[in-house]
Symmetry: C2
Subunit: 251 residues, 2 copies
Amino acid sequence: MGGPEQKPVDVAQLALSCKNCSLAELCLPRGLEAAEIDRLQRAIAPRRPLQRGAALYRPGDRFHALYAVKSGTMKSLITTRDGEEQVVGFHMPGELLGLDGLHHEKHTCTAVALERTTVCELPFSQIEAICRDYPGLQREMCSLLGREINEEQNMLLLLAKRTAEERLASFLLSLSARYRRRGYSDTEFILSMSRHDIANYLGLAPETISRLFSRLSADGLLSVDRRHVRIHDRDQLRELVEGSVGLRLEA
Amino acid sequence: MGGPEQKPVDVAQLALSCKNCSLAELCLPRGLEAAEIDRLQRAIAPRRPLQRGAALYRPGDRFHALYAVKSGTMKSLITTRDGEEQVVGFHMPGELLGLDGLHHEKHTCTAVALERTTVCELPFSQIEAICRDYPGLQREMCSLLGREINEEQNMLLLLAKRTAEERLASFLLSLSARYRRRGYSDTEFILSMSRHDIANYLGLAPETISRLFSRLSADGLLSVDRRHVRIHDRDQLRELVEGSVGLRLEA
DNA sequence: GACTTGCGTTGACGTGGATCAACCCGGATC
DNA sequence: GATCCGGGTTGATCCACGTCAACGCAAGTC
């Protein structure tokens, strides 16, 4: 183990090749050299699609890989002893999950598919090995972990300081930006998660989410039909997030 | 750069030697081999103590090192454009800070000393270099980043789901456990942060913290005098955290 | 020892969002 | 097309906590 020739390249893997992947720009290999990408994609294990509701891993499962979403959406959640759940993240195509297993080499989250979802499996032992030879990937990994930490800190602020309305507006803008990045419309999209999941994630009751959607809708900021969302006034939505205070400074 | 002999070893550095350090067990080099520790400690830069209120780094500062607290306490906080602050962590002796700078190589937090505090500076370029040669340190770094992520996820749950009382109880137990780990009393200690900081960290108002201290005190769970805390009934404190539901299962 | 300053406490009061409950609706099943 | 079912909406009510305001007290500072 550790040599450059790990596995024979088979057809299934070629189909998953990072170069051919439409998510190439979003995924792990941002800013890596060709040789690094080559070796990384040789490490990718093929995986069958997950059905809606299926778990990719559960708390206590041995951590052996990171996962990149190819299509579909997943959620990560932690569970307390008495069965209470906290959704800690949603993962869209091109986004990574599994970092919760890095400590102790055991997963602490449950990862569940919100719809039919396929993921790339990136065996962690391979990532580690490549990191040793290519500092570029090591950098990339650190940056990625750092981003996760920064994002969770922003989430702490959201939960500690924001009103329900600000939280939902912020959530919608985040979704919107993520859809834009991968080339979809940023003003019209389908929520892949239930009101219940959104509420849980934002530390609110599902009823509150429902009422807020109605209010924002009545105010003309957006329209909602079931899980179909269309944003009409992104600027005003953004003003809600900024808490109406400040930021008029630079206008 | 990159060779084994980076700098001449001087007296100041010897004084900071990881081997002599009373925090040896708590700090980064847990589970590393002698050679790795040797090289790591040669990289440690000496630093003058920070006065109470002084900032170690600010948002936008170039990230070039991680810091381990040697004595004193620090807090990390993020700031919004309109000056709003969110405390995202407290750092006690033996604990690390600076991970917020890993993404983009710029810090996003402000790190402030809560009292006179000294820190070890671990230049990140050195850590990276050593990681390449010693897989043990690479593992350690990943584990450490993973722990940070896990802890922040637990914090999300705390903010999203817990009542004020549960939050404070949880915070006190966390402090208590951290004091114990470093050999201090876990039932009697001095809070190095203000009520304001605690409240901010826990997403509450300072008045609420004050009232809760009074109540817990009246109920005999603990006694407080200014910043001096003594825990009388740790079990009952723990019951508050568990939310009174469940967990009676295994008793 | 008077004066300030900043932190902490306590009380009175108002409210944002949780909770409880009823109902609606679209999609699946037969 | 009747039945069921899970998710979503809406309304009525309640309460945990924020807000505002007054006050206490320790530690400087002159």
